[in-house]
Symmetry: C2
């Protein structure tokens, strides 16, 4: 069950002027569930995105990258769940292009103005007829106040839809940001997770929007892991419709850029954390902070070693303060640490120092923290001033169950 | 249950002239099980070893390294299970030294001539009184024909004792090699796994013995992974007693060195594979071969990405040919692959080529192979002549169960 994660409350999701959303039940993998989404954008919108670094990246990732680079204004995004269209070779590329062409036909734009996205099982052919049949239904249902349905339409093994809105003011004018994401397994993003979409009615020049989405993804989706598996389909897209009354942002040093970037990043972090809280089989949400390092890179390397360790993750599942496993993971992270200087905390409990168990540590204190559903592991290296945070979940029977039966 | 792994048959384990072994039930973690081992070596024996690269290496690893480096002839090894004596700081070092001192007292040698080893839970104090009480029992029971009991005395979550003997001839004289190992979880050795001991009655100069143990561990224990967690206590020791009639080996280019090294490496590979076959919760034994790479390093990197992927491992557990997960793992391994050139085979079945599913691939062929208990994944990169092999197992409910209850 998701860890301290509630579905978006009714009325908390704010529409974005300039973005229309429509969904359909296209029976791509299973009948009777929303599995297809079309987002139509106002012609003046700017769009930026980051994509997976996986070499076996999916056909829609290749096509979306090309279409973004074409410089033609993006008019629509299409997302299907139930099939990743990855590891599908030339046939997969053709299916992604055909999907874009059909939307271009329905919305009267060019195919290059459409960005395709897919999520689901890898190395199976995309069921193009079902998608082509579903697209007119999506288009017929396009409306502004449809973000919650959109969040549902992109889910795979997710239990809870992930969506959040925030508002801020730029030059005295209110701007709104709404984002949705999906993801539960194959989560160890290396650019962004499959799939996140954040839209704002602010106006942002495209190069600045690209800078903003990179910053937001580095601070959010690039800080999470469920199972250490980097997806073939990861993508985070940021859309700025320019429909608010706030002036267009063209200065990366300006206050408006900073303020909007902070709000977008907050939305991205909430969505990324929601993915971990709804991680496959998760029963605990774990924040791993590594502080006092020589560089952010070494702090991240240590945090990810702990976050990926199956032994650490099963100990959290058992609420067992078998915390030597955390020391072992820190020790094999590949950094030339002086373990005598290092301190390990579980929430506020000092667990280890001077290369071993802290004199003040009592098992019952560790046990108390381990029984919580939200836990912070803090590693203080005492060799510099850099720090990094990674969010992860535990490893349960249900993770194995979900992934031993995913295709059936 | 262990995968196609039988206990050593009676009479197949050959004694090594110059090595005496004694065990005890010392109640280190639980009563009524062998958990302490002493090996006494003839004064002329040479000893070499490789140890974990984990920065949080255990106290006995630190002491054993020091004692090996002292240059005094090693006269005894002592191994306890039930407690790793890792993450124990100064107190742990004192306990390891006290153990060596007590054996030196019992066997009339110096403490520096004793190598200590521990395995079990991390960051708990070594129960020294139990160990001190058990050592005289071990010494009283020292005998040559005791390798099977020794293999049992070092087990933790192992189900089956791991031991194997081989014989070869050097200069017309028969020499014997016998090895034991333990390990089932926290298995991703980076030098050698916790714990392996191989002894031969051949005579080998110490620097050559060190070269030989490095070669053997690189070809065996350094090619396996169960859960990606590198232990704090890994060690592989190679002992040459010189008690056979074969001449002493002093030439690393000679035929005798090559022949003995090949036999020692074969023993090491069988022991390392036994550890994977008895990996925690394992139901499948999986060989991952990556061929046609630019370097061994890149082949190993790809093989380990596949071997460590929880999604790949749960698919094997389910006997589900969800083989796109293997492509995804290859894709995120961090190598700049041209996925169009790559071929993926499951045993002899060509699964993927040209960036997607092979035209000849039929699901029922993949299904047939996935249902086997021994499976080979072969990845052909077609960009060089290097290759590497990694052995691993699947990821089951029982892995979670074992590691969610290990301390209780």
């Amino acid at each position: 069950m998701p860890v301290n994660l509630q579905p978006p409350a009714a009325g908390t999701l704010l529409p974005i002027n300039g973005v229309l959303l429509g969904t359909a039940e296209a029976s791509i993998k299973k009948p009777n569930r929303k599995d297809l989404l079309v987002m139509q954008l106002t012609p003046q919108a700017t769009v930026a995105g980051v994509f997976t670094q996986n070499r076996f990246c999916a056909a829609p990732v290749i096509v979306a990258r090309e279409h973004l680079a074409s410089g033609k204004g993006i008019r629509a995004l299409v997302v299907n769940t139930g099939n990743a269209n990855a590891g599908t070779g030339e046939q997969g590329l053709a299916a992604a292009h055909a999907t874009c062409a059909e939307i271009a036909n329905l919305l009267d734009c060019e195919a290059e103005q459409v960005l395709p996205f897919s999520t689901g099982v890898i190395m199976e052919a995309l069921p193009l007829p079902q998608i082509i049949a579903g697209l007119p239904i999506c288009v017929a249902g396009l409306r502004e106040d449809n973000w919650l349905n959109a969040a549902h339409a992109i889910m795979t093994t997710d239990i809870i839809a992930k969506a959040v809105s925030r508002q801020t003011t730029l030059a005295g004018k209110t701007v709104t940001i709404t984002g949705i994401a999906k993801g539960s397994g194959m989560i160890h993003p290396n650019m962004a997770t499959m799939l996140g979409y954040i839209a704002t009615d602010a106006a942002v020049a495209q190069p600045l929007l690209q800078q903003m989405v990179k910053h937001a993804s580095d601070a959010s989706f690039n800080c999470i892991t469920v199972d250490g598996d980097t997806s073939t389909n990861d993508a985070l897209m940021l859309i700025a419709t320019g429909k608010s009354e706030a002036p267009v942002i063209t200065d990366a040093q300006g206050a408006a850029f900073e303020k909007l970037q902070a709000a977008v990043t907050e939305v991205a972090i909430l969505l990324a954390q929601a993915i971990v809280r709804d991680g496959e089989g998760a029963t605990k949400f774990i924040t791993i902070k590594v502080e006092g390092g020589k560089s952010v890179a070494e702090c991240r390397q240590i945090a990810y070693a702990v976050a990926r360790s199956p032994l650490v993750k099963t100990a959290f599942f058992a609420s067992d303060p078998n915390l030597g496993r955390i020391l072992a993971a820190i020790g094999y992270a590949g950094i030339d640490l002086d373990v005598q200087r290092l301190k390990l905390y579980l929430d506020d409990v000092l667990v280890a120092e001077h290369g071993g168990r802290a004199a003040s540590y009592r098992e019952e204190d560790g046990q108390r923290v381990m029984q919580q559903s939200d836990i912070t592991v803090r590693v203080v290296l005492e060799r510099g001033v850099a720090s990094a945070t990674v969010w992860t979940c535990d490893f349960s029977y249900d993770y194995v169950k979900i992934n031993a039966s995913y295709r059936s």
